[in-house]
Amino acid sequence: MELLNDIGVVFSSLAGGFATALHPINMAMLFVAVVLGLIIGVLPGLGGTSGVAILLPVTVFIAHGSLPGSDATTAIIFLAGIYWGALFGGVITSILFNIPGEPWAVVLLFDGFPLAKRLGRPGLALASSFVSSFVGAFIATVLFTFFALPIALRALQFGPAELFAVFVLSFATLIGLGAEAPIKSVAMLALGLLLAAVGFDTITGEQRLNFGQISLLSGIGFVPVTIGLFGIGEILASAEEQGIGYVENLSARLGLRDVVQALGELRKRLRLVLSNSIIGFLFGVLPGHGATAASFLGYGLARQYSKNKENFGKGEISGIMGPQAAADAAGVASMVPMITLGIPGSPTSAVIMAGLFIWGLQPGPVLFLEHQDFVWGLIASIYLGHLLTFILCLLAVPLLAMIMRVPYAIITPFIVVISIIGSYSLNNSMLDVFITVLFGVIGYWLRKLKYPLAPLVVALVLGDSTERELRKALISGGGSPLFFFSSWLSTATLLLALVLVLIPLVRTLLARRHGATVAAAAGHAAR
């Protein structure tokens, strides 16, 4: 009975959310955002994270009502819409030009491009990608709709010890399940926490790490750092590749026949797409992973359980649908911890979370109580945003593909220019511009040396909250660290965090043992 009641609450809240999202200004901004997101997704030098970060200052004006009828809900619908557009748009260039527009579209090079080029079916490759993206995103949004409220209501009972434990768990996930060397994740995580500590201490008001510079008292801005790391960093990386690779260029027509055939192919792979969507959702909820890691996981699963393993890499449709469903589901899922707990699930949702702070909102469970219109308007806009993106993708692929023909000598400095506008206009600060340029170079260099950037960004946005909850817990416990183990929830969360951190260590030890066994067996054989 209680369950039915809860479902009834969710449906009525969602109906209210649709009423908010369907407001003309919100729909207009959603449309603009999705188009911008598709363009950002197509451009190889500009990613979803940097695109959202660059346009963050614009949302300040939207949130404060610069447009007639706009408010913070319009602003979040706008920012999230860019992300949805970029999630879809990134694959277009992978399939047609063999150049991934976004990191989560890299996996589409394996089968998307061969299906387009070798088998001569670019329309089918694109349609398969869009259809599976839509299904993945839709399933993830349904899960978001029904799970967000219970998580948020549970999180409302969290005290400082539980909140600190959840932050530690999110950091442990970045270390334990990251793709790069765990020790490098630790270094980046600590760097993010350190950068977040620059300026005034929020509890005592003391100055720290500002080295006497007044300009550093307000701290190092999250937005200029993120625009630098992801915006400038990405164009420096793509500048290096200019002239090195041969750029393919296939016809971008997408007909009704392709869509019908893609739907037929989807029916044959419904189990794969549904399971990958759910797995992508679960993976995306984990902090710091987002769509990219999920896309590779989705590809691996599609290949693992396929009867046609030998077709993978040659244009197998499961190699397109599997990763796409997982990537889009993870993209949507990365918003769940951000909205319900105040913990970003991906670098892009970290930027969106920074937006919430800037508009004067506190991400986390209180949002569900105090700003229901905002939360449910966002959830409803995810359904509408994906539907809009899907339709636009089917209609406008040739137009989007034309963006790739804009010459490098125009598009590259243009991205630099809008990155600089983005970093300057939030605080009208030239220091922020130089921080962006500096972190652009740093981000490019760290990426080259395989340092992961997600831990740095997540720690930078969570650094203040982590320190606040840590110190509040210590004050509550009279300085005793045992206070963190005073509730079963914080104890279990911290233990889980410990297990996650130990995973890479155990994996290394097992690999060494396996290596030693193999070497011993080889030695026996040789004797």
Partner: protein
């Protein structure tokens, strides 16, 4: 690869050392803290310490594990491609605010502030001329059109005020 990994780790260790030195008061009582609080320096001190130790492990591992023989760049052209982007970008960011400094009551101006729009015109036009090798009229079109479009979109549309040039101060240009 090894020297780059070790050099980067050394830079991270140096940053950690500076931050730890700045937070050396981590173990003495902080101003205005509540009973049980660790104070304002404790958290940055340990964040820096963890970062330093992690970088030390990275450097140690770089020595131990066999590294690929090639460097981090794919060739000389790729270094130049990056530098061709980084140097104009630095010049562009500098030109927006100009180069000047104050000594006592006198301000020395090497380059007056060109503001966002004039600097953007020079940057985009210059890039098109140098990297794109476009004809003069194309360069002129890029130089004029982009700042105007950005002015219309941001200054008039979104009402985002961007830095103005010294020509704006003297009333010659609207930006």
């Amino acid at each position: 690869m090894r020297p780059y990994q070790v050099g980067t780790a050394a830079a991270i260790i140096a940053i950690a050392a500076v931050a730890m030195f700045d937070s050396r008061a981590a173990f003495s009582p902080s101003i205005g803290t509540a009973p049980g609080d660790v104070g304002s320096r404790w958290y940055p001190f340990w964040a820096a310490a963890i970062m330093g130790v992690a970088a030390l492990v990275v450097a140690y591992r770089a020595f131990l594990t066999p590294q690929t023989s090639e460097g981090v760049f794919q060739g000389r052209e790729s270094i130049f491609a990056v530098l061709k982007l980084v140097l104009p970008m630095l010049a562009y960011a500098t030109l927006i605010g100009g180069i000047r400094w104050q000594s006592g009551e006198i301000t020395y101006t090497v380059i007056p502030p060109l503001g966002f729009y004039v600097a953007t015109a020079l940057y985009m036009g210059g890039f098109g001329w140098w990297i794109g090798r476009y004809k003069v009229w194309w360069v002129a079109l890029i130089t004029i059109a982009f700042p105007l479009v950005i002015y219309a979109a941001f200054e008039l549309g979104f009402r985002v005020s961007l830095p103005k040039s010294f020509l704006y101060d003297s009333g010659i240009l609207p930006f």
